[in-house]
Amino acid sequence: MEVVRQSFHILLAGAAATLEITVISVALGCILGLIVGLSRLSGIRLLRLAATAYVDFFRGTPLLVQIFIVYFGLPQLLRDGQAYLMANYNMPQILTQYALPVFLAAVIACSLNSAAYIAEIFRAGVQSIERGQMEAARSLGMTASQAMRYVILPQAVKRVIPPLGNEFIAMLKDTSLLSVIGFEELTRKGQLVVGQTYVAFPVWLTVAFLYLIMTFCFSRLVDYAERRLKTGD
């Protein structure tokens, strides 16, 4: 217990980093996810195919592998790509350093992953709005995008808040995978404390407990939002 007390502030800092990366990733994931989700419903075939491929890839491969691709793969791609362009097209050298800062890699990997799930949430939300709404808006002379913006999306957003909350909770736990590239979130901090003190059980239990506090608080918040929105529906 003494170890836990002494290292608690370290774990707490890890929890803060976990929360931070989750909030940033889900926020960016919402923006990208909205674009991808609407593209899935687009009348333009190419856009629809690209969005579907995106969702399939990021939902069909492990987040851990995606993290490796971004953190280890992307720098090599940048280096080799630039070398190729310099050799063949006389492009001047722009990048001298290729390694991604671990925070940036974490944000990229988690946002891209989150966007795929959020895209599906938005798509389902938009499709759950009855067809008559779009027809009424179009019959008044609104363009498809006006109808989407003023009529469909405001209604869809209410319906997607609960599943978005679940995505947030899932992502909060999945950020523990970032420990493998050394991003010092909660799990990585746990590893560091255990590595120094050789006290495993209480430390990992504390780590688990900190995750639980965060997910518990957030799921109560989602429940509350769900109840509030239901009465207004």
Binding site: G132, A136, M142, Q155
Partner: protein
């Protein structure tokens, strides 16, 4: 005002419209009757391209709807539509439902759009419901707001797709009353309905549709008192 030529519409293999031709003159009220599944609603929905016709021509004020160069949104703004299920926007108040399209499509300033909306609410007898959301309105009230919403665009034509079919019987009258007022003011209207009383009283012309064809058309007297076609006779005997 509206001219339809040899309109065909199929959903996959199902042929819904098999060559409809008709005209609606300015200030005329045309009522379309017929058994369910006869293509009445599909016909009406083609007139503002909520359904894409398979073939044929539709002109509104001389402009071809099926010409790829036609700005369909501009046409729709001139053609009001009232739906069976109202389709009010549930996240907006009655007033906002009415003022939204004039603001976004016609670029009217909010104040002006709201003034128009208040006038229209008064016209349909719902001045006191301006700030109420659709789910707090009865079916009849919702449909009257929906009519006001369509009128806010100052349309040249109004299309009514079974506007009273989803209403409780005691609310049918209030909606028909609003429609009668409109007809009296000279609005050009195409109405699909099962309300034969309305067809008789308000219609300038009645069209009977069956199996995707216009089987018979004429004045209300001709249609209801001297029906010629056997299917029309059978239809009338069932409902009158």
């Amino acid at each position: 005002m509206i001219r339809v030529e040899n309109l065909h519409k199929s959903f996959g293999k199902l042929k819904v419209l098999n060559g409809i031709s008709c005209r609606v003159a300015p200030r005329e009220v045309v009522v379309v009757i017929g058994p369910s599944g006869s293509g009445k609603s599909t016909f009406l929905r083609c007139i503002n391209l909520l359904e894409q016709p398979t073939s044929g021509q539709i002109y509104i004020d001389g402009v071809s709807l099926l010409d790829p160069k036609t700005d369909i949104n501009a046409i729709r703004a001139e053609v009001g539509m009232v739906f069976q299920r109202f389709n009010l926007f549930p996240h907006k108040t009655a007033l906002e439902n009415i003022s939204l399209a004039p603001m976004k499509v016609r670029n009217l300033p909010r104040q002006e759009a709201e003034a128009v909306a208040y006038d229209l609410l008064k016209k349909v007898g719902l001045s006191d419901k301006a700030n109420v959301y659709p789910d707090q309105l009865s079916g009849g009230q919702q449909q009257r707001v929906a009519i006001a919403r369509a009128l806010a665009m100052r349309p040249k034509v109004m299309l009514f797709d079974e506007p009273t079919s989803a209403l409780d019987p005691e609310m049918v009258g209030e909606v028909l009353a609003v429609m009668k007022d409109l007809a009296r003011e000279g609005m050009t209207m195409a109405v699909v309905t099962h309300e034969m009383g309305f067809a008789r009283e308000v219609g300038d012309r009645v069209i009977f549709m069956d199996e995707g064809l216009m089987v018979e058309e004429g004045t209300p007297e001709e249609i209801f008192l001297e029906p010629k076609n056997s299917r029309l006779k059978a239809f009338l005997s069932k409902i009158l």
